[in-house]
């Protein structure tokens, strides 16, 4: 398939990109440092290791997604490799999707790698890995899908630096929006409240994918939230990709 051809090319590019290995290095460092931190605490050491581990995997995954996602389309335009590519019988949608899936495949591999290292460190401390851990990782991956699609969208019309800032803002807003929810509850009903609710519904809510606390404290997770969070992630990603396509469709490559 043509999408697969572009995807595997994007994957090759990402895997051979040195930035990726720098980030991976830092991720491994922070996973190892969880052991050191565990020494400083009084009481439950397993919790510290789990917290640092999940945070590292999540944070570095997001950084990889943003740093590589913002160059996805921009680099092709800037280096003009897109000229010969689009002169072949491939349409722009196939190109975008190929780029997206190529990066997702790379991020998946990275996530698996980081998780394996974490699991080894964790098991050395004779902790117990529950199924919740893997579910939480799955949702981290879903969050990465959404962030990548946002980075891809900005990559279609903006330079990597600006795109990174915008994508990072998306991430921050996504984790702050529940604060907006608290604010809305305190508001008096009326037009302002309605408008704020509309804005709130539109803004991303990345906390839907955050199951770190549940994993660390082994709390119950209502099964409904799996389905709804999953659908939310998929549909929002789809929405952003459509937006990216609209921007990219009639773009002139001067």
């Amino acid at each position: 398939m043509k999408i697969r051809a572009v995807a595997s090319n994007t994957f090759k590019e990402a895997i051979r990109d040195r930035v990726l290995y720098l980030l991976l290095f830092f991720a491994v460092i922070s996973l190892i440092s969880s052991r050191i931190l565990a020494l400083l605490t009084v009481g439950d050491k397993i919790k510290i290791i789990m917290d640092v581990g999940l945070a590292s995997i999540s944070l570095f995954g997001v950084l990889m997604a943003i740093l590589m996602g913002t160059g996805l389309v921009y680099k092709e335009i800037d280096k003009k490799t897109i000229y010969t590519l689009l002169s072949k019988p491939i349409n722009r949608l196939q190109f975008l999707l190929g780029k997206f899936f190529g990066l997702m495949a790379t991020l998946f591999i990275m996530l698996v790698f980081m998780s394996l290292i974490f699991i080894i460190i964790f098991l050395l401390y004779s902790g117990q890995i529950t199924w919740k851990f893997f579910v939480s990782l799955g949702f981290v991956f879903l969050e990465l899908c959404l962030i990548t699609s946002v980075a891809l969208l900005f990559s279609c019309f903006s330079t990597p630096i600006l795109s990174s800032i915008f994508s990072l803002s998306f991430y921050v807003i996504g984790h702050l929006s529940w604060g907006l929810e608290t604010l809305i509850k305190k508001m008096k009903p009326g037009i302002t409240k309605f408008l704020t609710q509309a804005v709130y519904a539109l803004l991303p809510d990345l906390e839907n994918f955050n199951f770190k606390s549940e994993v660390v404290h082994n709390l119950a997770i209502p099964p409904k939230i799996f389905l709804f969070s999953f659908l939310y992630g998929i549909i929002y990603t789809f929405f952003i990709l459509v937006l990216a396509m609209l921007v990219f469709r009639r773009r002139d490559f001067i």
Partner: protein, 304 residues
């Protein structure tokens, strides 16, 4: 030669807006041209005339404001059209991290249902078979240009669009490319060659269009545009007194005992030959100069 129209452009307009206030600059101001099957068509113009922009319109890399483009009778953006096109951009640049065979393999996957050329044979054709496993970041400019040509021919295209293919090549490279273009013509392919180097166009093109400032100011067969009339004759002679030579024409330079003389009046050519014979002088060269494309070109550009 059949008169099947491979490429038809009608009333192509394109302007770009730049700057914060969106000031519009007109790049293409109503271009119309036709390219027939099996010919080498030269698209000629100074830098900034809009040649590359025209090519980008044909390929769907930029979208015209107005106008119609048909390739093989199909809409230029259709897959059917793209399957038969090969494009060689100016200053080609490809993915650093791939080797040349990986790169060609990748592109060949984009021609899903078509049969593509054997990659090794293609690399051999452009002289890159020894470098097929070296990453492209290590390629020189000449090598990249050869690879660009290879990717152009991947799908055995019937229409080949070349944007300044001979720029930056050494003389041997230029001859090789010219030979490949002529070979394409032999294979009944159509070539659209965009360049600002007139000598190349003159050597191989059948028909040309001249683009100045976004408008096609002239198009037609090369012979029709360039008159065969002799403008002047240049002769290099020796052992003749300079002053005597000036009766026939204008002496340009002297070096040693040789003189270069330019004779405008064709009648005087026979006279000077007789004169030199009588005076026991020597004729080293005799070159009649006809009107060249450069002459027409400069004339037309000056008119604008």
């Amino acid at each position: 030669m059949s008169k099947q129209k491979i490429l038809e452009i009608k009333d192509l307009y394109k302007s770009f807006s730049s700057g914060f206030l969106g000031k519009k600059t007109k790049i293409l101001k109503g271009i119309s041209l036709e390219v027939n099957k099996g010919e080498i068509f030269g698209y000629l113009g100074p830098n900034g005339a809009g040649k590359t922009s025209t090519l980008k319109c044909i390929l769907g890399l930029i979208f015209p404001d107005k106008g119609n483009i048909k390739v093989f009778g199909f809409d230029h953006l259709s897959i059917k059209a793209k399957q038969k096109i090969g494009f060689l951009p100016e200053n080609p640049y490809f993915y650093d991290y791939l080797t040349s065979s990986e790169f060609l393999h990748f592109y060949s996957q984009l021609f899903q249902k078509q049969k593509t050329a054997d990659i090794d044979a293609l690399l051999k054709l452009v002289g890159l078979e020894e470098n097929k496993d070296i990453q492209l970041r290590k390629f020189s400019k000449g090598m990249l240009q050869r690879l660009a040509l290879a990717q152009t021919l991947l799908n055995d295209p019937e229409l080949v669009l070349l944007d300044e293919p001979l720029g930056g090549l050494d003389p041997i490279g230029r001859k090789e490319i010219r030979d490949i273009i002529l070979k394409l013509k032999e294979e009944r392919k159509t070539v659209f060659l965009s360049s600002h180097i007139l000598q190349d166009i003159e050597m191989i093109c059948d028909r040309v269009a001249i683009l100045v400032n976004g408008e096609v100011i002239n198009q037609g067969r090369l012979e029709d545009l360039v008159s065969q009339e002799i403008l002047f004759t240049e002769m290099t002679v020796s052992q003749i007194n300079r002053k005597e030579l000036e009766n026939f024409g204008k002496t340009l330079t002297h070096y040693g005992n040789k003189s270069l003389i330019k004779i405008y009046d064709q009648n005087k050519v026979q006279e000077i030959l007789q004169f030199i014979n009588e005076k026991k002088g020597k004729v080293h060269s005799l070159v009649p100069r006809t009107q060249t494309l450069e002459d027409i070109f400069i004339g037309m550009v000056k008119q604008k």
